[in-house]
Amino acid sequence: MKLSFSAADEQFRIEVATWLEENLVGEFAQLRYRGGPGDEHMFPEERKRWEQKLAEGGWTCVGWPKEHGGRGCSIEQQVIFHEEYARAGAPGHVGHIGEGLAGPTIIAFGSAAQQAKYLPGIVAGKELWCQGYSEPGAGSDLANVKTKAHFDEQKQQWVINGQKVWTSLAHESDYCFVIARTDPDSVAHKGLGFFLVKMDQPGVEVRGIEQLTGTSEFNEVFFDDAVCAADDIVGEPGQGWAVAMGLLGFERGVSTLGQQMQFQNELNQVITLAKENGAASDPVIRQRIAEAHAGLKIMRYNSMRTLSGADDGSLQKEALMYKLFWATWHRDLGELAMDVMGPEAEMLDGGPYELSRLQSMYLFVRSDTIYGGTNEIQRNIIAERGLGMPREPRVTIKPQ
């Protein structure tokens, strides 16, 4: 068991940090610490340009294999990249869904033609993606897909009808990967297809959803006879669930260490404020800040364990509990931030509803324990897959 990085990796760290230092300037300087969760609606145009700047430096898709345009970085180097990226306060990636989800799926399951067509745009930071998984009423039951796709033999293309929801950045995206039911008589995870759908077409409508923060970064997306070319289905019709889920087992969460660096930035803000306004002398606040610090460190050690584990797609217990742990931790940090602010927490800087970063964080973190599988769903997954406890009997309710 060892903790340190090699000398070569530390050299890589300097390379990353230096590039960021030299390039996060000029019009990009204002983007520091912006565009993260809860702030994704900010500076979209500047962040798109930043994405292309990153691509010029070879800093998009660093973990992808070189033959697909990536940098081919080792796990250690990816960790270092994400850490330094967050440490520099570099802005939230507008391309993260393409880089982290669409691209790897196409690499793993797509045809050579699909790879040639879609991967370069992601690597170049020029084509943005969104994720069409969730549907209204389905909640955490992702397999409860009602969106339908049928193949039009005459036009030789797929026709998609239905609605997706909670689609982050759909309004900025060029493409959406959509799970839709190819077999109308199928249920649950059977009979699905995984489609690569162009957003800029008559059959696709995006409507922003206003969040409790007063802003909107996610959307409803309506597909009304939207079309998709015959060769833009990944895998076989009916096998979409395997495509959608196949990657998750191999997702080792390298970027989680970068996420933690963002959390560290937020905690640092809370600590600075506590020192400034005197809350740091309150024994209860001291306990809570120390607890947050310990929790964040443990999150880091937990990720290190996950990244050190077998690279065979097997489910490790520390990886299974990670979402529950960080989401709960982050929610608690939001409450701590407000309590450190004290009565000032209620005061807005201006505008009808202009929130400070900590106020926005406090509200936004309530979504962390909901999206990507609620805490309750996470506990079911942990109990069933991690502890081998039996499922609850399933009751099928017939539609009225």
Binding site: M1, K2, L3, S4, I75, E76, V79, I271, A274, K275, A280, P283, R286, Q287, I289, A290, E291, H293, A294, G295, K297, I298, Y301, N302, M304, R305, L307, S308, G309, K317, E318, L320, M321, L324, F325, E376, Q378, R379, N380, I382, A383, E384, G386, L387, G388, M389, P390, R391, E392, P393
Partner: protein, 378 residues
């Protein structure tokens, strides 16, 4: 990344697990805890002669295994899982840590030799229940070449049975702190067993009445920093033991709830039960991450490695988190076992009691969080 056990470390862990599961069963624990000595001499001798685990951290030049705190933590995790009644924590985690950090070569040769031969030892430092230098209330004065120690020690693990003692004392009328090592039967040392709520680990009071020591017994007369380091190292070991306990109560609970049928199905299929179990697993895994990291740091601290300066922080992160995690897990285990969890017959209460005892020992969660707060905020 290499933040995982090596093959050799896995072997040590597995050896400990299979041996201890076998010898520290419910019956053996109950037999040992009912005695004043608190452990079976035969079992201790088997741990020493068959596993040689008393030698884990003792350097090879003295005849030990020359391994480090990662290996010791692997053993302690299993000691916690099986609530082993043996003077292992006192001898290896407290006394040997003290000898490693503060003893000179002659003292190490003598006392490591005794430990390797199956002798037991412990560390006594607090007189008032504070777990740092301020807890040292015993005093010493110089009398020519000799040192005279007077004072009280409380909460000394296995203090009434240990063959050797490491004790801390402050200079009378001065501000120096000293550490001494001595045979427990030295004249003037009075030891009293104190019955405890957790019967699986024994504690004693020790009183020094004009105990006369020589330069041979003096480990350090500038011992504030060494004592802090010794306590932090032992804290990491204790956290490992607590983490092992957290895991074991989870395993026991999952097993029990899968077998126990109510309303025509195993209670483990109810979400209310599964969600509690999931939280228990989450706590156990987070504890494991915190403890393994602290173990690596402890090893670095011992050899003055680059990350050694993190020991205080890593120990407090581990101990604060694991103390609450173990107690919550033990409490949840008791709840999820239902009525039988409240019985003497089932083992859950052994863990429940050990969890609280270990939470308090070497500083509870609030104490360790305040140490972290000092690092962060002051």
């Amino acid at each position: 990344m290499e933040f995982a056990f090596t093959e050799e470390q896995v072997m040590i862990r597995d050896t400990a697990a299979s041996f201890l599961a076998d010898v520290s069963n419910s019956e053996a624990i109950r037999e040992a805890m009912a005695t004043e000595q608190g452990y079976s001499t035969a079992l201790w001798q088997r741990i020493c002669s068959e596993l040689y685990f008393q030698a884990v951290t003792i350097p090879e030049e003295f005849g030990g295994m020359g391994l480090g705190y990662v290996e010791l933590v692997a053993v302690m995790e299993q000691m916690g899982r099986y609530v082993v009644c043996a003077p292992y924590f006192s001898t290896v985690c407290l006394a040997s840590s003290a000898l490693l950090v503060a003893a000179n070569e002659a003292q190490q040769a003598t006392y490591f030799g005794k430990i390797l031969d199956g002798g037991t030892a412990t560390l006594a430092f607090t007189g008032n229940g504070q777990w740092h230098a301020d807890g040292v209330t015993a005093e010493y004065r110089r009398d020519g070449e000799q040192f005279i120690v007077d004072g009280d020690y409380r909460y000394v693990i296995d203090g009434h049975t240990s063959d050797s003692l490491v004790i801390a004392a402050r200079e009378q009328g001065g501000d120096k702190l000293a550490l001494f090592v001595l045979p427990a039967d030295t004249a003037g040392v009075e030891r009293t067993w104190r019955p405890t709520l957790d019967q699986t680990r024994k504690q004693a009071d020790i009183r020094c009445n004009g105990v006369v020591l020589s330069a041979e017994n003096l480990m350090s007369d500038d011992a504030a920093e060494p004592l802090a380091k010794i306590v932090d190292l032992a804290t990491v070991c204790l956290a490992a033991e607590q983490m092992g306990g957290s895991q074991q109560v989870l395993d026991m609970t999952v097993e029990y709830t899968k077998e126990r049928v109510q309303f025509n199905r195993p209670v483990a299929s109810f979400q209310a039960v599964k969600h509690q179990a999931a939280d228990m697993m989450s706590r156990a895994e987070a504890s494991r991450s915190g403890v393994y990291y602290a173990a690596c740091i402890a090893q670095e601290a011992l050899i003055d490695g680059p990350l050694g300066g993190e020991l205080r922080e890593a120990a407090s992160i581990a101990k604060s988190f694991v103390s609450e995690a173990y107690f919550k897990n033990a409490g949840d285990a008791l709840q999820l076992h239902g009525g039988v969890g409240f019985t003497w017959e089932y083992d859950v209460h052994l863990y429940f009691k050990r969890a609280k005892a270990s939470e308090h020992y070497l500083g509870n969660a609030a104490y360790h969080r305040e140490r972290l707060a000092t690092l962060l905020l002051d």
